[in-house]
């Protein structure tokens, strides 16, 4: 493995006891539609969670509540001790510590790869430009695309773009990384290059919550696998147990579908 760690501060792979993210009785509605029903969840520092479930079950909604891209209406969400409330200062404090990778990459097309990575460190963390660029280059090396630094996102392949998106999030030195189906929009031959980067990140002790249907990834790195259906957490278990003997009928049906091909 290369010398530079993804995450210098918390590079202890073993999960420690302090909770990083907690959801307590979280409920959310879209109009009359009850999209999150009483979700309870605790992610400890350094833990890696994989969230799966059928389409429309509320996985994206839940993960997007953690950095307030969606607002929950009932319950408590706390990130590294900071409660998510109406208070904009709390919201921004949480967002500074939470990195997010989207299904559609969402890179900024008018900025180069390097500018994409340095934007938030410079404008949010007030880091000097030169220092930010050096840091961005280390992360671009870690995701194995330093040579693309001066290109625009539109000139890269999907897999490369998603790796830039990961590097961009890491440049804020987040304490938690959220992934919302990071490989679903990719051509099959590019999935692996992104998963490899994620596996490496997990090995270095990053706290991660990934919505994904890549069950191989779940087996390999997850501490805990969560199955969601109709806005509820139906089942939560370590991967070995989750895949070997799922307790709920719904989980079994879902796994049957996902693992069938």
């Amino acid at each position: 493995m290369a010398a530079v760690a993804f995450h210098k501060k918390d590079s202890t792979p073993a999960p420690s006891a302090t909770p990083m993210v907690t959801l307590e009785g979280v409920n959310k509605w879209y109009g009359q539609f009850h999209v999150l029903r009483d979700v309870n969840l605790t992610v400890k520092r350094g833990e890696r969670f994989v969230i799966c479930g059928p389409s429309g079950s509320g996985k994206s909604t839940m993960i997007r509540c953690i950095n307030r891209l969606e607002e929950h209406q009932k319950g408590r969400i706390t990130v590294d001790g900071t409660p998510l409330t109406e208070d904009v200062r709390n919201i921004e404090a949480v967002r500074r510590e939470v990195g997010m990778v989207f299904q559609q990459f969402n890179l900024f097309p008018h900025l180069t790869v390097l500018q994409n990575c340095t934007l938030a460190p410079i404008w949010v963390r007030k880091m000097p430009k030169k220092e930010a660029e050096e840091m961005a280059m280390t992360y671009l090396k870690r995701v194995r695309i330093p040579e693309q630094a001066n290109k625009f996102p539109g000139q890269l392949s999907g897999g490369q773009q998603q790796r830039v998106a990961i590097a961009r999030a890491l440049c804020m030195r987040p304490k938690v990384m959220l992934f919302d189906e990071p490989t679903s929009a990719l051509d099959p031959e590019m999935v692996k290059e992104v998963l490899d980067v994620m596996v490496e990140l997990a090995r270095e002790g990053m706290t991660m919550m990934c919505v994904t249907h890549e069950m191989g990834f779940a087996r390999q790195v997850a501490d805990s696998v969560i199955f969601m259906d109709r806005g509820e957490i139906v089942e939560q278990a370590p991967p070995a147990e989750f895949f070997k003997n799922p307790k709920s009928e719904r989980t079994r049906a879902f796994l049957g579908q996902v693992l069938a091909h």
Binding site: F102, Q104, N106, F108, P109, L119, A120, Q155
Partner: protein
């Protein structure tokens, strides 16, 4: 997964007979009975009209330098371009003091230079704001005087410099207002949203003329007694307020065209509202809306002629005033054609520029 086949055929040349002048003419001019008739009618009109136009405008024309008598002799047969030779300074500069005409000339050059700099994509940055503030100040100084120049009251400003000022200042000052209005209209704060919507819809619902009237006749009634606002300033403010409402809608179109993921990604990076707008949303949204923005500048340039209604001598009115001279009065049409040419030259170059931008921005967008 999709099967990808390798190309097994060699590229072929297009079939013969699909190009060439004859084929083009047959296909495009005589493709159907209707288009054949249309082609013949248009050709007939051209053959009938163009020679007499050339004869009037060029062959039998009276050129600058000749007097009004020569024009009268050629009346009805040749154009009298001599009128422009005699009156052009009055038309272009209006009642501005004759000996000081170098000042509006220089002022127009400064303004044109600023406009040209703004046309170059390499200069699209925050520095352009400074360039415009300087450009506008120098323009006003040259026109109005002070700091070593004799002062010329705005009542004497007129002609092309006034038209250019009303249009370009109107556009440039309206721009930041329009951005705020467009953002306000999409704001999640109800009060700001309501204020923006009401403003935009109110202004867009009335003609520019009525705003100019309001500025000239109603505004002074609301002012404390004794204070007056300069007539040119009032018209300029009315134009800015008018243009801001229209531009706001244009910019909102650009904002709406932007995928939601862009502001979400910025939010996730904790950029906050203003940094998100300034660094992520606006640069992309404005790029999309530049062609329609230039389009609205073209309309504005022509609409400035409405200020004649509040007695400002813009290019159109100063031409009519110049033609008040009984000696030259019969040659109104030629003077009209002259200022039409000026309007056309401005609007046509803007339109060409807009087309150029559309081409380069399109590829620029895909590549970036």
């Amino acid at each position: 997964m999709q099967q990808v086949d390798h190309l097994t055929t060699t590229p072929e040349a297009p079939p013969r007979g699909s190009s060439g002048a004859f084929v083009w003419v047959r296909k495009n001019l005589f493709g159907s009975i209707f288009s054949s008739i249309l082609t013949l009618v248009i050709c007939g009109l051209i053959i009938w009209f163009v020679p007499s136009l050339v004869e009037w405008a060029l062959i039998k024309a009276v050129w600058p330098g000749a007097g009004a008598d020569a024009c009268r002799a050629a009346s009805g047969e040749g154009a009298c371009w001599a009128v422009i030779g005699d009156k052009w300074r009055l038309i272009i500069f209006g009642r501005y003091p004759f000996d000081e005409h170098w000042r509006p000339t220089l002022a127009m050059l400064v303004l044109m230079g600023t406009v040209l700099v703004s046309c170059d994509r390499r200069f699209w940055s925050a520095r352009l704001i400074v360039v415009w503030i300087l450009g506008m100040l120098v323009f006003l100084w040259l026109m109005g005087g002070g700091f070593g120049l004799t002062s010329v009251p705005t009542g004497l400003w007129g002609g092309l410099p006034l038209t250019m000022m009303l249009a370009f200042f109107g556009m440039v000052v309206a721009f930041p207002l329009a951005i705020l209005l467009a953002l306000g209209r999409r704001s999640s704060l109800p009060l700001i949203k309501v204020v923006s919507v009401v403003y935009i819809e109110l202004i867009r619902g009335v003609p520019l003329i009525s705003l100019l009237f309001m500025g000239s006749f109603l505004l002074p009634l609301f002012m404390p007694a004794g204070t007056t606002i300069d007539a040119v300033l009032r018209a300029q403010i009315a134009i800015i307020l008018f243009q801001a409402a229209y531009l706001a809608e244009t910019i909102r179109g650009g904002l709406q065209a932007l995928p939601k993921g862009q502001s979400e990604a910025a939010d996730a990076l904790a950029l906050g509202y203003w940094k998100t707008q300034l660094l992520i949303v606006l640069p992309q949204a404005l790029k999309i809306s530049i062609p329609p923005i230039v389009g609205s500048l073209i309309s504005l340039f022509k609409d400035t002629s409405l200020v004649a209604i509040v007695s400002l001598s813009d290019l159109l009115l100063s031409m009519r005033q110049a033609m008040g001279d009984p000696v030259w009065r019969p040659f109104f049409v030629e003077a009209f054609l002259f200022i039409m040419l000026i309007y056309w030259a401005f609007c046509f170059s803007m339109s060409k520029y807009s087309q150029y931008l559309e081409r380069t921005l399109e590829t620029g967008h895909r590549r970036r």
